[in-house]
Amino acid sequence: MKSNVCKLLSTAAVAAAISTGAAAGTLDDVKAKGFVQCGVSQGVPGFSNADDKGNWTGIDVDVCRAVAAAIFGDAQKVKFTPLSAKERFTALQSGEIDILSRNTTWTYTRDVSLGLDFTATNFYDGQGFMVRKDLGVESALDLDGATVCTEQGTTTELNMADFFRKHNMSYVPVVVQKADEAVSAYDSGRCDVYTTDKSGLAAHRTKLKNPSNNIILPETISKEPLGPVVRHGDNQWKDLVTWVMYVQVNAEEMGITSKNVAKVKADAKDPGIRRLLGAEGNMGDSLGLNADWAYNVIAEVGNYGEEFERNLGKDTALNLPRAINNLWNNGGIMYAPPVR
């Protein structure tokens, strides 16, 4: 009996020793398992949405596809985990996913106290209000006394409260657990107003019974820089995700698209472009990647502008203008540090 107790204790001690070692090398893990595990939303058209065959599309999905293209040269080597707003950080903290790319707002508290790191912004958004046309409201400042629907587990609840308090207006909050039910409640007339990020308003408006009967008010009441998130403390992985996104923005600036990238790589005289596309030297080495990683990202997923037009632009149901998300030299604030 004595020996059994010893065995038990020693087994427990070994188990303790094994499980306290936290894994830091996300890139090595990803290379070993052969795919990127990507946390996305449960369905926001244009950002991350699955079709009836289970294919994910959207600008947030493309972030993960671009990372997979950089590592494996194959944008399809991604597996998706749909997450609710309140599950998302726990899933990332616990290592269930490698990247959280789920229209997540970059805020101080999230960055410094949740054990997370924000990489770069792939969509500059802001919170707005949607109302029915027949209400005759033209400005958010006319909303005194209104009933407002929103969903839980986002930054919108706090923004909404701050906005109404700041303007000394009263309101009735109806906070529903999931976005779909919040939109249904608004659509059924429980609320006068539905509030979330403006891109979300445009996306959800397409699902309403009568989309053209609803308008988005002009006011933007908050800054919502959305972008992918990684775990705190793995700098190599953070650098990788960040620079995959920067490369896409730089590619748009240089006029490199998924269609002409092969030709540009073959013909380019500009040493900057040759270095970027791996025709000269090895820029990927210090990230733990191959020399042609940036080439693969652009060839497989495209530059930032292509990504935007494909998922959110004029030819989509969302029909969002580039506006603030245009390049810095084109009237927007999309700006990436140079690759050299």
Binding site: S113, G145, V176, S188, G189, D192, G233
Partner: protein, 392 residues
């Protein structure tokens, strides 16, 4: 086998049954403590490694978010601790009202299913079988969205006297106590004392003489009459704040929001269906001879049920009824799905999202549901003991 002897040489320390069981218990305790300590220290180490802040100090921070239904004063400037209290009260209120309503529905439906009236019995069967077999969450969505779809927008509210009914809820006049309302409260207390006196007197008289007196109806009459007398004497010190239609909503008055109504209806009809079956089983468990005996003594049917059958049926009913009450209290957490601001919605939803304190907030919720269920359980065990057959 043949030479079992109580030789002292066999009585070593480890061969003693008492000592052995003691040693095993100490080992078990040590393992439990070690595993618990190991899990806790591992958690601490991992939280530290990832730079996640811990502790309950966030409860003193301002919450900043609004809550739809609050029975104690609450604004966006209140703390997370206050928000927790508001959510806690909302959970308690919906559980308590749900338990009361579900019990009433359950008893009525259980009796109806046993009714000799064919139509009544079949209707009760249909109700019970339908509601027991549809998931509760679906029923909540049904009530919420069905009610919302059926009612008009605030501008076209249904009006009955000073009551308004629309998609935003049921609006009623809000009574506001004026000077001298204290007298009415005193009157109510006096009437309550008188009513209790009548009930005690009637019981004593019945034990002594066997004569029956309608004590409960008289008590109710006394409470209403005496309170009204005091109310009139004080000069009717009550005014009403009437609901008014305004630009978006109805302002003034008291409101019962559709979220609250939907959760309450869903919880009480769903649990009521289960309770109906428990009541039916309890009544069927009482021997038919008891009813025959009561009738041969000349008791009316209602008295037979109330005085002979139900008290005996209760012994069978109470234990499974307790688990239904526990289910109802825990199921109230589904209200989060349709915007009823109870514990899961406010603490595990908004607070968790804003502070990121997953372990603390979920721990708090587990603690509350654990103690809520345990107190229901303790109360019902006490009641069960009181009602059980005292054998002489």
């Amino acid at each position: 086998m043949s030479n079992i002897k109580n030789t002292p040489s066999n009585k070593s320390f480890l061969n003693d049954a008492g000592n052995r069981s003691l040693i095993f218990q100490i080992i078990l305790l040590a393992v439990v403590v070690f595993v618990g300590y190991y899990l806790f220290s591992n958690l601490q180490a991992n939280l530290d490694n990832r730079g996640i802040s811990t502790g309950f100090s966030f409860l003193n921070e301002p919450a900043g978010f609004p809550i739809l239904i609050h029975l104690v004063s609450y604004t966006e400037a209140s703390t997370y601790g206050r928000a927790f209290l508001v959510a806690l009260i909302n959970t308690f209120v919906i559980s308590l009202l749900g338990i009361i309503l579900a019990t009433i529905i359950g008893v009525v439906m259980g009796l109806a299913r046993l009714s000799k009236n064919w139509l009544v019995a079949r209707l009760a069967t249909v109700y019970i079988e339908t509601l027991r077999n549809i998931p509760l969450l679906l029923q909540m969505f049904f009530w919420y969205f069905a009610v919302l779809a059926a009612l008009p927008v605030p501008r076209n509210s249904y009006e009955f006297a000073d009551f308004l009914l629309n998609k935003r809820g049921i609006y009623s006049p809000n009574p506001i106590a004026q000077d001298g309302f204290g007298l009415v409260i005193i009157g109510f207390i006096v009437s309550l004392a008188l009513a209790i006196g009548v009930i005690v007197w009637a019981k004593k008289r019945q034990t002594r003489t066997g004569l029956w007196f309608p004590a409960y109806w008289s008590a109710l009459g006394i409470i209403i009459a005496v309170t009204f007398l005091f109310f009139a004497a004080a000069g009717f010190p009550l005014e009403f704040d009437l609901p008014q239609k305004s630009r978006f909503n109805v302002t003034g008055g008291m409101v019962l929001p559709p979220e609250f109504v939907a959760v309450l209806v869903a919880l009480s009809t769903y649990t009521g269906a289960f309770i109906a079956e428990i009541v039916r089983a309890g009544i069927l468990s009482v021997n038919w001879g008891q009813t025959e005996a009561a009738r041969s003594l000349g008791l009316r049917d209602s008295m037979t049920q109330r005085l002979i059958v139900l008290p005996q049926a209760l012994r069978v009913i109470i234990p499974p009824l307790t688990s239904q009450y526990l289910n109802l209290a825990k199921n109230s957490s589904l209200g989060a799905a349709i915007a009823y601001p109870e514990l899961v919605a406010v603490i595990m939803g908004t607070t968790l999202n804003q502070t990121g304190q997953a372990i603390e907030t979920i721990g708090l919720c587990m603690l509350v549901y654990g103690s809520l269920s345990l107190s229901i359980s303790l109360f019902m065990n006490w009641y069960n003991k009181k009602m059980s057959l005292i054998e002489r």
